[in-house]
């Protein structure tokens, strides 16, 4: 038992070192490609697809705005930024419930794989201040697997939320 726990501890420590080293090299441009080879795809989060209305239109702004949803979209594996990807989002806000059509909207990423869309202030609902985002391959060009996200705000008073997508090529 002692040997096993030692081995496990050593394994965990080694794992942490590898992850730490990977993060460091990921941050520095020199080793970026070496790190990006292992960039894992974002898994769908539990409850992420709840109250999803497929195919929300691309809009300038959802409702009156006041809250900024931002994010990035990269390709799994090499970490290349993905331009023109359609990201749909919805939430319980000061202007409506999640199920309401007017609570939904979509935007496209720019050439750096960055997206941002203004929407009404997200307010706590069902116990947490949270948003929903989707990359749905049915409403894009079908080159990547569908992902549903359900990020939780660290504070209900936050006026912005950032979400990173890493998409798995089909």
């Amino acid at each position: 038992m002692t040997d096993l726990s030692k081995t496990r501890r050593a394994f965990i420590t080694t794992g942490a070192t590898v992850i730490g080293a990977a993060s460091l090299s990921g941050a520095s441009g020199v080793f970026r490609n070496a790190y990006a080879q292992s960039l894992a795809p974002t898994p769908t989060m539990r409850g992420g697809a709840n109250n999803y209305l497929p195919g929300a239109p691309v809009v300038e702004r959802i409702g009156g705005g006041g809250f900024l949803m931002t994010g990035t979209v990269h390709r799994a594996g090499d970490g290349a930024p993905l331009a023109g990807r359609r990201i749909q989002m919805w939430a319980h806000t000061t202007e409506g419930h999640e199920r309401d059509v007017h609570s939904h909207g979509a935007t496209l990423t720019n050439e750096d794989g960055i997206f941002q869309l203004e929407m009404p202030q997200i307010v706590p609902a069902f116990g947490q201040a949270h948003g929903h985002l989707a990359y749905d391959t049915e409403y894009d060009d079908g080159k990547f697997e569908t992902v549903f996200m359900r990020p939780v705000m660290s504070s209900a008073k936050d006026k912005t939320l950032h979400v990173a997508f890493v998409l798995q090529p089909v």
Binding site: R46, N50, T93, V123, A125, G127, R150
Partner: protein
């Protein structure tokens, strides 16, 4: 003189106890009723939330009634009201879940299937089933023909599950209840439940065969 003053003091204490209990029940509900979140919820969602808050408040009454601690409602009378309040608690819990279901069906289905992303959901569902079980145990008490100590052990164990589940459920939720009044209500519910279980020696049946 002393004998004459005793009832007067008793009346004052009774009054204070009732005021304290009313405050413990009414203040959290009143604070929830003034929550800014209500402005952004439709009536069904508002009602569903309040059903939950009221259920939490009723949880405080239950041990005090069955233990006969409330002045003027001791003994059989307290136990009879405990039964009615239990029915109310069951109704409040059903309204809570039904209202949430109408507001966001997938979130409630996830909770009931124990696959919700929110950690408080599973505690709510545990408390929900424990409420059903405790109510069934009470409704079929004559037919079950359990001994009093055994029935009491089962009902008390479910009550503890209801209280623990509900308290964790409520404390983790960012909802209409005020953080302080919610915490105080939760502490009072735990204290009252613990008190009555100790006082009625609910576990007595477990010790019967021991020296």
């Amino acid at each position: 003189m002393v004998d004459r003053q005793r009832p007067r003091y008793g009346a004052a204490l009774k009054f204070l106890l009732w005021c304290g209990l009313m405050a413990a029940v009414v203040i959290p509900v009143a604070i929830a009723a003034s929550s800014p979140l209500l402005a952004w919820r439709d009536p069904i969602y508002v009602a569903a939330g309040f059903a939950g808050v009221i259920a939490m408040a009723l949880l405080l009454l239950q041990p005090l009634l069955v233990g006969g601690y409330l002045p003027g409602v001791s003994g059989l009378r307290g136990r009879r009201i405990h039964r009615w309040v239990g029915g109310g608690l069951l109704a409040a819990v059903v309204l809570h879940v039904a209202g949430l279901w109408l507001t966001s069906p997938p979130d409630v289905i996830d909770a009931l299937l124990l696959r919700s992303p929110t950690p408080f959901s599973v505690w709510g569902v545990i408390a929900l089933w424990a409420v059903f079980a405790a109510a069934l145990l009470a409704a079929f008490r004559p037919r079950l023909r359990l001994s009093v100590p055994l029935w009491r052990l089962a009902h008390s164990a479910l009550a503890m599950l209801i209280v623990v589940g509900s308290v964790i459920h409520a404390l983790q939720i960012d909802g209409t209840m005020g953080a302080v009044s919610k915490a105080i209500l939760c502490v009072l519910v735990i204290a009252a439940t613990g008190w009555v279980i100790l006082d009625l020696r609910s576990w007595a049946v477990l010790r019967r065969n021991q020296p």
